[in-house]
Amino acid sequence: MSIGVLVGIFLSVALVNNLVLAGFLGICPFLGVSRKVDMAFGMGCAVTFVITISGVVTWLIVHAILTPIGNAIGNPGALYFLKYVAFIMVIASMVQLVEMYLKKFFPPLYTAFGVFLPLITTNCAILGACLYIDMKPETQNLLNAAVYAFGGGLGFMLAITIMAGIREHVRFSDVPKCLQGAGITLLVAGILALAFTGFTGIGK
């Protein structure tokens, strides 16, 4: 397992297949919490944090609980129908745990992005990243899975921060009335996604 593979996975998920702009995950916070750069950055940090932990924990759920039990009864996939329920429960409880932990041990960090934590449970970037880790052939070992999750989180942070930067400027421009709010945001996102397609091909 070379470092090159890890770099490849990281670049692929952070830029080329950016969870938000190419994978359409986490669109709700991407549109909702991108009015100010500092808010967007805080949200990005919170997501990166939770996504990395959840990615690792759900990997462990599949490879250390569901598969061994399945193997024990003779069919490795026997319990896979519990995956989705297990994943969402893990994410929800991870979010709660992280929130309580930060509040107790890192109060400054908690005040910085603690407010975003409850919103994250229904952020599809988290569940999406966990599902992709489960599906993709290259993330079947723990280290790759962790790198994938971390890269996915950073990609989300990058996308939402850029978006917020642009929106801070859009506020001063003369947007047609019917496009104000969601309309113009989506169009900006489209152009941003167009820019990100320029990253395709750097995976090699």
């Binding site: 297949n17 519990l82 329920v85 091909g201 995976g203 090699k204």
Partner: protein, 185 residues
């Protein structure tokens, strides 16, 4: 304790009921789902190995290899499952090899996210070019007219990268798997 039971009995009951419901659905549909998945793979293998009746699944150097046998039980060819870097995301394909491992008998891309209309032509008849190429040498994807005697395929116009990536995956997997087929014959 009473408070705990009071608050959570519904969650526990629902958990049990739902788990049973899911287990029931799973049991009743599992056979069909597995059949669908197997059919998708079998169709791909049938395209790259001319006559297949039964298959044995082997693992060679980390790659899944399907040893294909015809009706009489003779070796009909090998189908190799391979994953590698593509232009957008990973490309997964099966490559067919003749029984003695000397010729490529076809390739079929099963999973890819290449650009629609350009790169995703690798899924279609473009891949037929690989039929009959020499497996002992490197295959090359070139722009413009390809010379089959030099083991070349013609790259898709506007998608040279996708074409090259497919060729790289095929070369790589053949190079690793081919020398080891002998012992599985």
């Amino acid at each position: 304790m009473k408070k705990f039971v009071d608050e959570s009995w519904l969650v526990l009951v629902m958990g049990v009921v739902f788990a049973c419901l899911l287990a029931g659905t799973q049991t009743s549909l599992e056979a069909r789902i597995l059949e669908n998945q197997a059919r998708a793979l079998n169709e791909a293998i049938a395209e790259v190995v001319p006559v297949v009746d039964t298959m044995e699944t082997l693992t060679v150097d980390g790659n899944t290899v399907y040893k294909c046998l015809d009706k009489e039980g003779n070796l009909a060819g090998w189908a190799v499952d391979a994953v590698g870097t593509g232009f957008v995301d990973k490309i997964r394909l099966v490559a067919g090899l003749s029984p003695d491992g000397s010729r490529v008998t076809g390739i079929k891309v099963i999973e890819d996210l290449e650009t629609p209309g350009l790169g995703n032509k690798i899924e279609g008849e473009w891949a037929d070019q690989y039929k009959g190429l020499d497996a002992s040498r490197k295959i090359e994807a070139i722009k413009g007219e390809a010379n089959r005697d030099n083991n070349e395929v013609q790259a898709i116009t506007g998608a040279t990268y996708s074409s090259t990536y497919v060729t790289d995956i095929v070369n790589d997997v053949i190079e690793r798997v081919r020398p080891m087929l002998e012992e599985h014959r």
